[in-house]
Each structure stands twice: as structure tokens, then as C-alpha cells.
Amino acid sequence: MSERGSNAWPARFAKPEHTVIVGTGIAGATAALTLRTEGYQGRITLVGAEAEVPYRRPPLSKEVLRGTVKGERIRLKPDTYWSEHAIELRTGTTVAAVDTGAASVTLADGEVLGYRNLVLATGSSPRELPEAVGVPGVHYLRSLRSATTLAAALAGRGPVTVIGGGLVGLEIAASARALGCAVSVLEAADRPMSRVLPAWLADPLSALHWDRGVEIHTGVTVARIEHHPRRGGCTVSASNGRAWSAATVVAAVGTVPDTGLAQAAGLLVADGIVVDEYGRTSASGVFAAGDAANLPDMLHGGRRRGEHWNEAMEQGAAVATTIAGVLTPYPRLPWSWSDQHGVTIQVCGRPDLATEHEVHGDPEARDASVVFRRLGRVVGVVAMSRPAEFRALRQLALAAEGGR
């Protein structure tokens, strides 16, 4: 940037216009793409530890496991797109440190990059199951690499035990079943998807899984996992004495935000990098977006962390728009979807807060939309196989709240 007159920024802020984005997941990649579509003229560096160019994670638990799509087909953009839009994409590159005082990041090889704005989109990692620590052969799913490894294991068509009946666990189960594997899902709560759905909506989905040959066992607390080096596979034992032997064991028990870099840099961290509704961290010029960010819930109060694809994408877009000059809040009512045995399930808001609800259609037939209210205010919408209704109801909820 050129020198300015006496009204210029203090000299220490007069850095070249450069945005560094850490993390090539959907939040980071979307931030880079959006900066350019918003007309940002500065330099953009997108740095990520993963070896691959930015790709879509949702197909990992579905098409990639089933082997119906190849890795290169899930790329977010053609390989040449990044350089064509003057985005310096540095894959396979780890950021070693952030110095918020000097406004610079240091890469693992020692290179130092100065920034005007920094976006930490470091994502999250699968929560490790304590009983699986040190046990070989327990799979987790997060990256393309982990999906490829798991897909190779599932291709053996042996029995599969999935620990965790959340959205990811159930998608893995459905994919393994589609491949012809015998599948058991072990869930600690009294129903699958307990964080997202009430029992009366989770039950019809459980029934669908059982109909398709996926066994879902609830109230199961894993006590021990044994690996069988000679015959292969593992046995998962529950505290109630039951045991499941499988060729392949997958743990899908939630995520933990990747906050190590932020913490070491002295940023405020509490179940994620603490940000305001515009993604601003406790350090000047530093933002956080995606799974790694812990943000205020402007609709329901309290704070929360997003763990879904669309929300990470929308946060990446919002933070880029803010950096490009138009202060843009994170979405107040993000939505997510899951695809299980061909049924599209869509969720927004906090159905768990509801005191009343209104049903359209037939939940038992997995063809319904439901509006959840708390003292008359819409707090959430759930739809099964009714995407158009879901969109309309979600807009209604947003209009009622005056949100975006």
C-alpha cells in the first residue's frame, strides 16, 4: 500500500493488504473465494495441512465410502481455479505459530507471512473414544484420506460396528449396509441423533435403519475394545455384558475443535475460538470461522459451536464480506442436512428447546415437516423428504425473529 498523509493508519497497521486464511476446509476455502467475488484487491494466502486441494466433505460418509465417486470428483473447484483467481493455495502446509502483536504467521518451514487480516478456519477433529486409545484398527472419519482407508476396509464386506448414532455414524452405517456389510450401531443415549431430534422423530428413522438391515442398539456404553491380531477385526464389549465382533470398527462420537494454534497465540478459547457475531476474535484483525469457532447464539442465547457443512460455508462467506468492507454477521439460523437410505433430513435451530410443536405430514412415513416453538416463538424446524416446506418454514422463522 502507498504512504498516506497525516490521517493514515498508525505506521504499525500500514501493512500490505494481505489476508491469510488457515484451513482449507469449506470455511477457509469459501472465505478465499468470497473475498474475490466481493472485489477484494489484496493478496490472499490459503494455507492448510491437508495434502489435497479443497474438497467437499459431505460425500465422504456417503458416495466415497460406497465407492460411487472418486476423490477428484469431490474437489470444490478445478485445480487451476485458485491461481486464476490470485489465491495462493498452499496445501500440505502447517502453520506453526501466530504472532498477533507482529500480525504474522510462521509456517512449519520457518517462512513468515505478515497479514492485515487473519482467518482461523482450523476446523475440528473426531473426538477420540477413550476405550479405543491404543487399539489398532478403530477407524475415524474426517478427511478424504480417512474415508479412503475406511472405504478399503468396508470393501471386504465384513461385519461393521459403528460406535455413535449421530448423523455421521448413521450415514456411515447406511453406506456400509448399501455395500452389503452386516452393520450394528451402538449408541449411548436412548435414541439415535439425540442431540438433534426428539424421540418421536428419531424413532421412525431408527425403524428405517432396521428395515434396511442396520441394527441400532441404544443405551449401550462401550466398556472395552479388543483387537484380534491373528484373525483380524475387533470385539466391542458394552458395560451391560453384550459384545459385538466386527471386521471393521468405526468411532463417530462427535468432534473437538482444533484450537491449538489459537490457544498458543493467546486468543480466548472456550470450546472453540471465542468470536463475536461477526467472527472477530479477541485479537485485532483476527477472525475465526467454521467448526473451530465458538459464537454467540443470537436467537436462543448462550454460545455454541457449529459442526455442519453449510454453517461453515456461510461463516466463511460472512467473514470474507466483513474483511472486504461490509460488516456481515454470521447466520443466526443455520441449517444442516443428512441423507440416510435416501431420506433427506433437514434441521435448523434448537428443537430441544421447544415447548410445543406443529406437525405437517406423517413422521412415521418419514414424510413430514415440523415447526418447534417455545412460548410461541419458533425455535427450530425439522423436515424429512420435504425440502420445499423446510425452506418456507425456515424463512418464516427468520422473518418472525427479524434475523437473516
Binding site: 459431505p58 460425500p59 470428483r73 453449510n310 442436512w337 441423507d339 433427506t344 433437514q346 425440502p387 420445499a388
Partner: protein, 62 residues
């Protein structure tokens, strides 16, 4: 040929691809159906996003 080449549309939410040449027989959309001919209230078969969330992409067919 005066016939315009078939186009490919991609859901910006989940990446689902609609290829006009192939249509979407699961929902009785015949091969060769142009994007313009698909109803506006049609939804992405994978994630449920709106037709408006799709963009035309220049992509190689496989």
C-alpha cells in the same frame, strides 16, 4: 447443429450435479430436460437446497 449443448448445474450447498443430458430419472425428469424447464420449487435431491442455489458449471462429464 443449431441445438445448444447440454449444460451441467451444480448445487452450491452440497455439490450435487444436474446434467441436462442425463436428466434425473429418479424424479421423472427425462434425459435432455433443460434447466429452465425444471420447476422453480424443485429441490436438490441430496441436501434439499433450492433450485436457485444451483449454478451453471463448466465441468467435464464422467
Amino acid at each position: 447443429m443449431s441445438q445448444e449443448a447440454y449444460k451441467v448445474w451444480e448445487c452450491q450447498v452440497c455439490g450435487f450435479v444436474y446434467d441436462e443430458a442425463q436428466g434425473w430419472p429418479d424424479e421423472d425428469i427425462a434425459p435432455g430436460t433443460r434447466w429452465d424447464e425444471i420447476p422453480d420449487d424443485w429441490s436438490c435431491p441430496d441436501c434439499g437446497a433450492a433450485k436457485a442455489d444451483f449454478v451453471m458449471v463448466e465441468t467435464s462429464r464422467v
